[in-house]
Subunit: 237 residues, 2 copies
Amino acid sequence: MAPGARGSSPTSIQATVIEELRGRIISGAIEPGTPLAELALAEEFGVSRTPVREALKQLQTEGLIEIRPRVGTFVAAPSRREITELFEMKELLEGAAARLLAQRGRVPEIERLERNLRESDEAVARDDRERYAELVHEFHGLLVQGADNHKLEAHYRTLMNQLAYPRLVMTSLNQPGRALQSDREHHHVLELVIAKDGDSAERVMREHVRESRRALLAGLPLTGPSARARNGVASVP
Amino acid sequence: MAPGARGSSPTSIQATVIEELRGRIISGAIEPGTPLAELALAEEFGVSRTPVREALKQLQTEGLIEIRPRVGTFVAAPSRREITELFEMKELLEGAAARLLAQRGRVPEIERLERNLRESDEAVARDDRERYAELVHEFHGLLVQGADNHKLEAHYRTLMNQLAYPRLVMTSLNQPGRALQSDREHHHVLELVIAKDGDSAERVMREHVRESRRALLAGLPLTGPSARARNGVASVP
DNA sequence: TGGCGGTCTCTTGCATGCCACAGACACTAG
DNA sequence: CTAGTGTCTGTGGCATGCAAGAGACCGCCA
């Protein structure tokens, strides 16, 4: 039910295609606006068009690509407005997750978060941005997981996928001092969670998301990810 | 991009099938757990299996049905836990929508909400529950629309679809006095929105959702929608 | 009678071929 | 040179056929 997908044993062909394509898109391996022809993908994967079509259909429903009938299929290029909206949702969901986690008390995720922060401190200390980016992703993921609401988690994953988050985090971390500040904010949130202060945890978490968004947009060129993206590939004029 | 779908001119076959099936599911015309065979649907709609398959694929991604490979496709049967989670999300999103709407000030949606409440008052006065159920749905929809965040709206619609909300509202309205109380709560929320008191609007809206959930569960039999739903049709052991 | 094995049917997964439409390009007329 | 128009190619939409797995059902054997 969750688009995020984790472990899967009966790996059907379409599942493979979905995971592979989703991975490429959210990692930024293929840029927004890039056309994805069914036939080309089918040949690349060595399968027929059918499973590729079904994979594309699902990715469209997840909001990762756009299928224009009789024209072509393209990697979605979120407009500036959509990015704003996505961050608004991110703030909302992560804030709620922090509150819910605080209410749950001492659950396993807390310890994993503490371990995450210890590693994050080290990564920041040696200025290892790549590793820190991973840890940031994990921190937010753990927080949402710890909220113990599968629906929340599913919607959250969908959002992050649409943002192609991994691609973006690095950008925001290139702002000088952002990594250190981000790490401090994480510590603050976790303290409040452990203190079971749900209200404050939510508030601080939301502030943290706003800060990260600010850092991100500051490091982004005027227009979205790529100027060559067609006129309005992803709605909103 | 939004699963909710509204007007569509270039009606492809699969789009037709999607809308029709979605309508049947969320209205409760077909019960959770009901098997949906591709071939049967194809014959019913007078088309081939292909567009039906694609429609089913999308509905699965939306969380409305479950496709068990090589076994069959079934209308999803939300577990009790999932219903709880969905309402938690509903509370979250509608609360945020109330806040956002309050911040926007005098927008067209406000007037539509006022008109909605006038009609609601009348419906309640003459104990027309069916009409009132429609108006409730519209009220919540307008609120979310008025938040002017398309992502929020899309996720909200997905949630409501998973809940098969229209089918549920009537149940909650069968609780004695619930309609009147609900109407009052709507008035309260709208007042706060118009007063641009976002904090309070969010708080009251969230309380309203909790109340409606309470009324709903009180009118629901012990187990979910239908006991004949297979063991764990919709995950969660 | 109860448990077990095989078969048989129904389901979806996948491959393939044809079709209609969008859009680009070149050619032609003014 | 420009605007209009026709064609032509590439795309996804849809129909169809075959294959493989799951599960029910029936018969057999102890």
